[in-house]
Amino acid sequence: MSAKKSLPTTIALGVARGGLEIRQFMRQRESVVFTLAFPIILLAIFGSVFKTTLAEGVTFSQYFVAGMIASGLVNTGFQQLAILIPMEREFGSLKRLRGTPMHVASYFIGKSILVFVSMAIQVVLLLAAGIIFFGVELPTDPYKWLTFTWLIILGSAASTALGIAFAAVPKSGRGASAVVSPVVIILQFFSGVFFVFTDLPGWMQQVAAIFPLKWMTQGMRSVFLPDSFAAREVAGSWETERTFLILLAWLIAGIFLAIRTFKWSRD
């Protein structure tokens, strides 16, 4: 046995874990259906039911697609991890990992890769459905693509960190979905995914403004809706800089909470 040979690096193991996580994800019919197909089904239902026009050249479906893409960041990050990690904790997989020389950061890197890949698949599927069925047009302005890119990266990262942090909340693995899913669905209602945000009661708008999803949906609207629609937002503008700063603040808070609250086992 060569005792001098050193341990593999944290990054290399994180990447290896990412590959493994994706393989597991793809083999779980529940996760593929729930995480990837469900948003598409919702899109099909809402897009077909509400055919109103909100403004010159903006249909409700287009508004909804932007909201669903933002929701995708929350589904694949926050929701997926806050359900998956308590289950891994309950099954003892986390305790087993803790017994190995692997660094906890490798585990987080693996989870981030899982989130990023499932998020990318979901966004592509939603965009494709939006373009094919609901007349969503891809932006031509490179500045909008820049906004889209940082929204995806920052939003997804914050969602991942907050999912790991929130994973400390469910008391059991089996009950995790019952704790996490309502939080996400309520946030979606409050944040203007299912309804036009400015049509919601004022208090609801104010509550939503605390949480990141509202800013993600607004950001996605700034990418996929014409700039003339900005006047219809609460502030009368897209508030791009503000969105960036709020998501960044949530990312930092999420990382801090995730590190503080992460537990390998139940007791």
Binding site: R23, M87, K95
Partner: protein, 281 residues
């Protein structure tokens, strides 16, 4: 050099003393069994040695390292040990081979994956998803994951619970082969025959205290205990306790014309000794 040295180990939960002053010394290459009823403090003791729990007090050295330490040194230490937990039930969407290959990546000098699959007897299941394995097969995979990093010290917490007799024999053979490779093993079990078959020394633990540490054959004065000679006379079972059962049998042989009816010479089994020990408390 001693692989494990523990002195004055204490650990309490809210209102119970789970571990109440345990001393242990386990030397290199030894197979050491912790025997005790459920709730005796076996798992708590082992989990402290594994670094999963913090002791309230006591000095602990495992491979020269305090398991409560964290950081890079702890990872280097974990690279030298293997842990088989009491129960793990992953979702199981990976195959046996994928799981072992992946865990092999965590260590600086892992064992060959195929060799490990073979040694835990999962050759035919190497491509099977974990969730399709039987309880015994899963347990053997757990052991495979415990030894994949070629550990110097292996912890086995109730490794054969739920095994059928044949699977247990196969498992014991696996542990024997690890012994030949020089691995030190700390085993907890509540099967007496398992401790007798595998362990060089056993410690009987109950209510957080060690009652005795000995070899299985000498535990509780087993080797020197009086033998019971039983036979039937006038339709009634007779019994005599003796240090020299041969003399008793010789006397009986002279007394009876032919066969001594229903003759038995009984020595206390490890189980008798163990039960009388934990019953004393």
């Amino acid at each position: 050099m001693n692989v494990i040295e523990v002195q004055g180990l204490h650990k309490s939960y809210a209102d119970t003393k789970a571990v109440d002053g345990i001393d242990l010394t386990i030397s290199k290459g030894e197979i050491f069994a912790l025997l005790g009823p459920n709730g005796a403090g076996k798992t708590t003791t082992v989990e402290i040695l594994e670094g999963f729990r913090k002791a309230d007090s006591g000095s602990i050295s495992v491979l020269g390292f305090d398991p409560a330490n964290r950081g890079v040194q702890a990872r280097i230490w974990r690279n030298r040990i293997g842990i088989v937990l009491q129960s793990t039930a992953d979702a199981g969407d990976l195959t046996v081979q994928e799981t072992l290959s992946h865990f092999a990546k965590y260590y600086s000098a892992p064992r060959d994956v195929e060799e490990v699959i073979h040694s835990v007897g999962l050759d035919e299941k190497r491509g099977a998803l974990i969730r399709t394995l039987s309880g015994g097969q899963r347990r053997r995979l757990d052991v495979g994951l415990g030894i994949i990093g070629s550990p110097e010290l292996l912890f086995l917490d109730e490794p054969t619970t739920g095994f059928d007799p044949e699977a247990r024999r196969a498992f014991w053979a696996l542990i024997e082969s690890l012994r030949e490779g020089g691995t030190t093993i700390l085993l907890t079990t509540h099967y007496l025959d398992e401790a007798e078959a595998l362990a060089d020394r056993v410690a009987v633990i109950t209510r957080g205290k060690i009652l005795e540490v000995s070899t299985p054959s000498q535990l509780g004065g087993r080797a020197s205990a009086k033998a019971r000679v039983q036979w039937k006379s006038d339709g009634v079972i007779q019994e005599e306790l003796s240090d020299n059962p041969t003399d008793v049998v010789r006397r009986l042989a002279a007394q009876f014309p032919g066969e001594i009816p229903e003759l038995q010479v009984l020595r206390p089994s490890l189980e008798d000794i163990y039960l009388s020990m934990i019953g004393e408390i």
